[in-house]
């Protein structure tokens, strides 16, 4: 916990200049207390990562009403009448602490990532390394193959320590939606790719040839996830400085309208 808070301080100073909607300043204690309040009050509906209400991604600054800290504090306290967002009996300070947590939750979310960060490296050098190694699998800003996860927003969706862990031990941090999925049909064909959706009667996949397939289960003999990521570990491939640079590059990937 302490370690991740230290990370957050580094990151706050790194992102404050661009976070124009942030009109308050916060201490690590504010963020920590805000996280506690979030987990006991908000996460039941919004989810632990703040992304379970459609159209809202609290950790990525995607809100339905308001953008500034002041707006958000008001929404938390009074709710949004006529919607599912209820009022909450918080003081101004407590509501502000929750906002402090939201502004930093992608970074400080606990229980993910085990590496203590040394800091962010140089994104430009990281980009050069990435284009040398990674672009053969991943897609960024609409370019590249679809075999591996699209990284265009990875700096918003993954906590920093997890980015570094993902380079060293890809299987350990693999998200469910990214697991390789394989189907054998009743006529003996093997289809590999990623599982997009499933129900009792059918399976939807993106196969390794980038085709969107919808398969009735009565035509499927076997199905299952692989537990290992096809991505190689870069442990020993890169120096610590190079890893920092790569993480710096990945953390800078914040979608088309950062």
């Amino acid at each position: 916990m302490r370690a991740s808070i230290c990370v957050s301080v580094v990151v706050i100073s790194a992102v404050t200049a661009t976070a124009s909607a942030q009109d308050h300043s916060y201490t690590p204690a504010d963020i920590e207390n805000g996280g506690r309040l979030y987990q006991t009050t908000c996460s039941g509906c919004h989810g632990p990562a703040g992304d379970e209400i459609p159209g809202v991604a609290l950790g990525r600054g995607v809100f339905k009403r308001g953008t500034s800290d002041t707006d958000l504090i008001a929404v938390i306290k009074t709710g949004i009448p006529g919607t599912a967002m209820p009022p909450h009996a918080f003081s101004d300070q407590e509501a502000a602490q929750i906002v402090a947590y939201l502004r930093n939750m992608t970074v400080v979310r606990t229980g993910i990532g085990t590496t203590v960060m040394r800091g962010l490296g140089d994104p430009a050098r990281g980009r050069a390394l990435f284009e040398g190694k990674g672009v053969t699998c991943h897609r960024v800003y609409g370019r590249g193959p679809r075999t591996a996860p699209d990284l265009t927003e990875v700096g918003l969706t993954r906590p920093l320590p997890e980015l570094r862990d993902a380079l060293l031990d890809p299987s350990a941090t693999m998200r469910p939606a990214n697991r390789p999925f394989r189907v054998v049909t009743t006529d003996g064909r093997t289809i590999a790719g990623r599982l997009l959706n499933q129900d009792t009667y059918s399976i939807q996949m993106l196969d390794s040839s980038d085709r969107l397939l919808s398969l009735p289960k009565r035509t499927v003999r076997e199905q299952g996830f692989a537990s290992a990521s096809p991505m190689p570990s870069y442990k020993g491939t890169f120096t610590d400085q190079e890893l920092d640079d790569l993480v710096g590059f990945l953390a800078s990937l914040k979608g088309f309208n950062p």
Partner: protein
């Protein structure tokens, strides 16, 4: 009884005259004798959700087709799930769109007669969805509890309020989400709010006036029996002890007892502020319907730290138990066990798991569970998960098959973390939210399911109460928030989060028909008839769908 038959005959002869008939309590008591109607939340006062209609049958169910659909609005708020079971009285359907909009519809066509939309206080706060599960009717009056704590009586012909009573304070987290229960001349309700440190109750109101007649507090105060199960040194925990009542109860007219399930103790996930068994949380309570006096109770989950509300519909059946005729109660509980109780005495007769359960490993002779797990700071992995092995979604009982049908979450799990918690009026009083293998609330859009099988699955299960055996299981990849309807033609109707509504053979579980409804089913189906034609209605997503056989 002759009177009922007479009115039924009149109803059959002169369809148009019927709408003038009032819904007397006598009619509700004998709801099974007018299967064309659905007069109370569970179809009858015994909580069966069973339709005596037989036109739709295993041999023709594949010919079901959509007759009409009624859209509420799209997209609904993610947690404004459409949970209501409609009532149908002599060709008119009454239902509630989230959160508290009441409509009267022509049950044959879906055309609207009227809409009533109350102004909801901005102070309303509900933990888990701005929802309503339905209405009650008596005479010419409909009754609805609102999420801001009002009980409102509406004229069934016009949708205009007859009376409107503010019963509880929404700013403290009290709300009404259940369908009220009519017993004699009274309307019985209880509040939701178990995540806000409320003090739960069951209360009866005079239907004609809204005057409160009796109230049973589910958390006993000093001097009352049961208070000794709140053992904190300061003797204050009971005041915020929870025990909400948010699912409709049942009624036995011979015993004159009304049965209600109570919800979790507060705070949910840290039991330290409230040492003791915490009566009457997570219990069934049997109350004298005239006075509200407690006749007996049985607690399913003493000192709960896993949010195992016992807010399920009590299912009342008369059947032989070990050779002797007995008045029984069947109960599929959120905690993963299903129970057979004696509903006259409250005696525990049997408790068996219907999914993977690891928090208790059995019962003592009196039915107290042998608890083996508690919430911990570092995290405790518990089966079933926080949403439970089942929840408010109504089960069903068919007197023809003698089976008990349970909408089930199979082999799901949660990790519970004990965290500091402090009561502040109007704020959630819970502890830390546990992790879950399935999300508690499935959003209205974005229903992608990429979970591995080890996270669990959904099922409709059928059990034989006499032997305790499971007869069959119908498996779904995703879990289900759907209730179960059985019919006298031995069909089971249910759905799930995947957006299907389907019919199963009640004796084998074989799927005989399904329709895509494009949104999750978070309600129980019901059935009715008009001019001899049987209909089945189900809410899914933000739409009410009504099916009948192709003509």
């Amino acid at each position: 009884m002759p009177k009922v038959l007479a009115s039924l005959l009149i109803a059959l002869a002169f369809g148009t005259l019927v709408s003038a008939q009032q819904v007397t309590f006598d009619r509700i008591l004998r709801a099974d004798q007018e299967p064309q109607n659905w007069l109370t939340y569970s179809g009858n006062l015994a909580g069966w959700r069973y339709s005596p209609l037989t036109q739709i049958a295993p041999g023709n169910v594949r010919n079901l087709e959509l007759q009409w659909a009624f859209q509420t609005r799209a997209p609904a708020e993610a947690n404004e799930k459409f949970e209501a079971t409609p009532l149908v009285v002599d060709g008119v359907m009454y239902t509630v769109l989230a959160p508290n909009h009441v409509v009267a519809l022509d049950a044959a066509t879906g055309r609207m007669f009227w809409l009533y939309s109350p102004v909801i206080s901005p102070l309303a706060r509900v933990c888990c969805g701005r929802v309503n599960r339905g209405l009650a009717i008596l005479g010419d009056t409909l009754f609805m509890g609102t999420i801001d704590g009002h009980l409102i009586a509406l004229d069934a012909k016009t949708g205009k309020p007859v009376w409107d009573k503010a019963v509880v304070d929404p700013a403290l987290g009290y709300s009404f989400t259940l369908a009220p229960l009519i017993v004699k001349d009274k309307v019985i309700v209880g509040p939701a709010g178990g995540e806000y440190g409320i003090r739960g109750f069951v209360a009866a109101f005079e239907a004609a006036t809204g005057r409160e007649v009796w109230r049973f507090n589910t958390i006993p105060e000093p001097g009352q029996p049961g208070h000794e199960t709140w053992e904190d040194p300061a003797r204050a925990a009971w005041k915020t002890g929870g025990g909400p009542v948010w699912v409709t109860g049942s009624y036995d007219p011979q015993l004159n007892l009304t049965y209600w399930g109570t919800g979790n103790p507060g705070p949910d996930w840290n039991g330290d502020p409230r040492p003791g068994d915490n009566l009457y949380t997570d219990s069934v309570i049997a109350l004298d319907a005239d006075t509200g006096q407690l006749e007996w109770h049985y607690q399913f989950t003493p000192h709960d730290e896993f949010d195992f509300d016992s807010t399920q519909v009590p299912v009342l059946v008369d059947m032989p138990w070990q050779g002797q005729p007995r008045k029984l109660m069947l109960w599929a509980n959120r905690n993963g066990f299903w129970y057979v109780l004696d509903r006259e005495s409250g005696e525990f007769l049997q408790g068996k798991p219907f999914t993977k359960v690891n928090w208790a490993n059995g019962f003592d002779a009196k039915g107290r569970p042998n608890k083996v797990l508690a919430s911990t700071a570092e995290g405790t992995l518990v089966y079933p998960n926080n949403q439970g092995a089942t929840n408010w979604y109504p089960p069903s009982y068919s007197p023809r098959t003698g089976l008990f049908y349970i909408p089930s979450w199979m082999d799901t799990f949660s990790t519970y973390f004990k965290a500091p918690v402090e009561y502040v009026p109007g704020r959630q009083y819970v502890g830390r939210f546990p992790t879950m293998s399935f999300p508690a609330i499935r959003p209205a859009v974005g229903n992608l399911n990429q979970r591995p099988p080890e996270d669990g699955y959904g099922a409709i299960q059928a059990f034989d109460p006499k032997t305790g055996e499971r007869k069959w299981e119908f498996k779904m990849v995703d879990v289900t928030d759907s209730g179960v309807l059985t019919t006298a033609s031995d069909l089971v109707f249910a759905g799930g989060r995947e957006g299907y509504f389907f019919a199963l053979d009640a004796r084998t579980g074989e799927q005989l028909w399904r329709a895509t409804v494009g949104g999750q089913v978070s309600a129980g189906a019901m059935s009715y008839a008009i001019n001899g034609r049987q209909y089945v209605a189900i809410a899914a997503g933000s739409v009410l769908f009504v099916y009948a056989l192709r003509q």
